[in-house]
């Protein structure tokens, strides 16, 4: 059953187009994570679903009911804010029961709902405290608890974990996924943390400058980005992009050439219309590049910097004429991620190998992906 449906949502602030026609259909129980760069309209979208902002044009349906002009309190949504937005003068219990109290529900019902939510979130012993007596993680739980007590159809989260430290964020991430499984409720979650998006989402919505770039399961987006933006946005360290020329096209595959690169033949999608001599953008994820002997290497480079993270090693290599047009380091260096502790040291000149099946190609006209689909399972 469709729980939330957005039809051609547009939002203008004066002449500024914050949202440019968003279409989205969310099934009951889905965990939708919206990601995108700062200012792309994620919070605006959430506020529009909540009813805190009006749409310029478009329709919002919750459980099939048109709520485009309905007051926030009657939409069956609950929102958790980045700053928690707890009422400082109320106790935890009063904060959590606020919505029900405003709806004049019987006290017994409110108490029961508050206690139930508090138990789920393990804050039942904090009910008499005030927000400022709580730690960041506890405040966040109260804010989530306040949403739970109203048993909404759709939960809305606006970067709820961004004020927490790394360890607590990981813990809360797991708890939130768990909570989602227990409640089985529809959730729309905004973040710009990739890990949150990849780990929690049933589907990710990538937003850019007020438009949806792509919607899909996390791994699908990661393996088959629809365009250069999504490819560059998902994945850390970022994908390396290079400008290359098409040297030959045959049998649905293009052979690429560039200074410093030994020719690579990459399969194309059927829709791609590529001619010899075209310039295209080639994308290679840092983890798809491996060390190799110079004679078998796709390109060679001088290691500028080594980051040893224990589990993995990240290299930034200057590949001479083969310059990255956009990469993690932003300096033209190629980012390479090696899945073990490597002995490579700075200033060494090493060979790097790339498998053609790991190479992405993007049209330089509209930035769409033109390399063939990749399987989401890689073993």
């Amino acid at each position: 059953m469709t729980s939330l449906e957005l039809r051609q949502i547009q939002k203008n602030y004066g002449s500024y187009h914050a949202l440019r026609g968003i279409d989205l259909s969310v099934e009951q129980g889905e965990f939708i994570v919206t990601v995108g760069p700062s200012g792309c309209g994620k919070s605006t979208l959430l506020k529009i679903i909540a009813g805190l902002e009006t749409v310029s044009t478009g329709k919002i349906l919750i459980n099939g009911r048109d709520v485009t002009t309905t007051e926030p309190g009657e939409r069956g949504i609950a929102m958790v804010f980045q700053s928690y937005a707890l009422y400082p003068h109320m106790t935890v219990a009063e904060n959590m029961g606020f919505g029900l109290r405003m709806a004049h529900r019987p006290k017994a019902e409110i108490d029961a709902a508050v206690l139930r939510a508090a138990k789920i979130l393990r804050i039942a012993d904090q009910l008499d405290k005030r927000p400022k007596q709580l730690s960041g993680g506890q405040r966040q739980r109260v804010a989530i608890g306040r949403a739970i007590t109203r048993s909404p159809d759709v939960f809305l989260f606006d970067e709820p974990l961004s004020n927490l430290d790394a360890a607590l964020r990981t813990q809360m991430r797991v708890e939130l996924s768990d909570l989602h499984a227990r409640l089985g409720a529809t959730m729309v979650y905004v973040t710009h943390d990739q890990t949150e998006a990849m780990t929690m989402a049933s589907r990710i919505v990538v937003l850019n400058r007020g438009s949806v770039e792509q919607v899909g399961a996390p791994l699908e987006l990661y393996r088959n980005p629809a365009n250069l933006f999504v490819a560059g946005f998902l994945g850390a360290p970022r994908m390396n992009f290079f400008e290359v020329t098409v040297a030959a096209v045959s049998g649905g595959a293009a052979t690429l050439s560039a200074a410093g690169l030994s020719p690579l033949t990459v399969e194309l999608t059927e829709a791609a219309s590529v001619q010899v001599g075209d310039r295209v953008t080639m994308g290679i994820r840092p983890e798809s590049i491996s060390l190799a002997a110079e004679e078998t290497a796709s390109f060679a480079g001088r290691v500028r910097l080594v980051e040893r993270l224990g589990r993995e090693t990240i290299l930034y290599a200057d590949a001479g004429p083969l310059q990255c047009v956009s990469s993690e380091s932003g300096s033209g260096n190629v980012t390479v991620q090696i899945g073990h502790a490597s002995a490579v040291a700075a200033d060494a000149t090493v060979g790097f190998k790339v498998e053609p099946r790991d190479v992405y190609l993007f049209s330089s006209v509209d930035e769409r992906t033109i390399s063939a689909r990749k399987s989401t399972i890689t073993d």
Partner: protein, 283 residues
């Protein structure tokens, strides 16, 4: 630029600072001290010109009892309370309502209304003396407490609205969004969220308003004539007419009149809890 503490090493600057502060305090408190001192003296001392020396005889109890038994001060006092309390309440309610709307709702003319509230403060109230008096006469309210209450509310609401608007505008916006998302009506938001959070502002404002209105002399003289409606300020002036030489009584009366604002301050002090909004957002 904000005042910064002098460094420990700047001894002379520190001393100069202490001397200046003391000097200003003395100048500031001298009239009050003189009045309190005079209210302790007996009539003989005052008549005899012993204004600054050690009193030959303490008239403390006599003077203060006389203020209430030999003059209509008790009546004036009651009048003042009857005028001031409803006025303060009225201003607080109106300015909170207006401030909330001006701070939190975007509507056509918002800035214009706000500008009117602010601009009104720059008009000297005195220029309205004749029209206000005429208006009250025509409304049959001249020489009633209602006249004073209405005008105090009208004149103080502008400033108070500016004050409350800015305070409410400074509250974290997400609190209001949260309340709205949870289905609270604007009025519920006002009562359950805004008012508890602006209590320190309301307390400060209440003290200011109480002092302004209690100390008002101008409108008291313009709008009242009978002893039954006159507030203490106008009443004190009456006292001087009748008891030309009794400066010790007038001083005692003045001291009594000055007490309610002071009491008000101590009463409200505990509400001046700063940082009540702390803990609302992150941190």
């Amino acid at each position: 630029m904000f005042p910064r503490p002098f460094p420990e090493t700047a001894i002379w600057r520190r001393r100069l600072y202490v001397v200046l502060v003391t000097g200003i305090l003395i100048v500031w408190l001298a009239p009050l001290f003189a009045i309190i001192l005079t209210s302790f003296r007996s009539t003989q001392d005052v008549m005899g010109g012993n204004l600054w020396g050690w009193p030959t005889q303490f008239g403390l109890v006599d003077n203060y009892t006389a203020v209430f038994t030999q003059t209509p001060m008790a009546r004036y006092f009651l009048n003042s309370l009857t005028i001031t309390i409803p006025s303060v309440m009225g201003v607080l309610i109106l300015s909170t309502l207006a401030g909330f709307v001006l701070a939190r709702y975007r509507f056509r003319g918002n800035m214009l209304v706000f500008a009117l509230f602010v601009g009104g403060n720059f008009l000297p109230h005195q220029i309205m003396m004749i029209p206000v008096r005429d208006l009250m006469v025509r409304l049959n309210l001249y020489d009633t407490m209602a006249a004073l209450i209405i005008f105090h509310i009208a004149f103080q609401t502008g400033f108070a609205t500016l004050f409350m608007r800015n305070f409410i505008a400074a509250l974290p916006g997400e609190l209001f969004q949260a309340a709205r998302a949870e289905g609270a009506t604007p009025f519920q938001t006002l009562v359950h969220v805004v008012v508890p959070l602006v209590r320190p502002a309301l307390a400060a404002l209440a003290i200011l308003l109480f002092t302004f209105i209690w100390n008002d002399y101008f409108w008291a003289v313009v709008l009242t004539i009978s002893d039954t409606v006159k507030p203490v300020t106008a009443g004190l002036a009456n006292l001087r007419g009748e008891w030309v030489s009794a400066w010790n009584l007038i001083s005692a009366g003045t001291t009594v009149v000055a007490l309610p604002p002071v009491a008000m301050f101590f009463l409200m002090q505990k509400h001046f809890i700063t940082g009540l909004t702390m803990g609302a957002v992150k941190g």
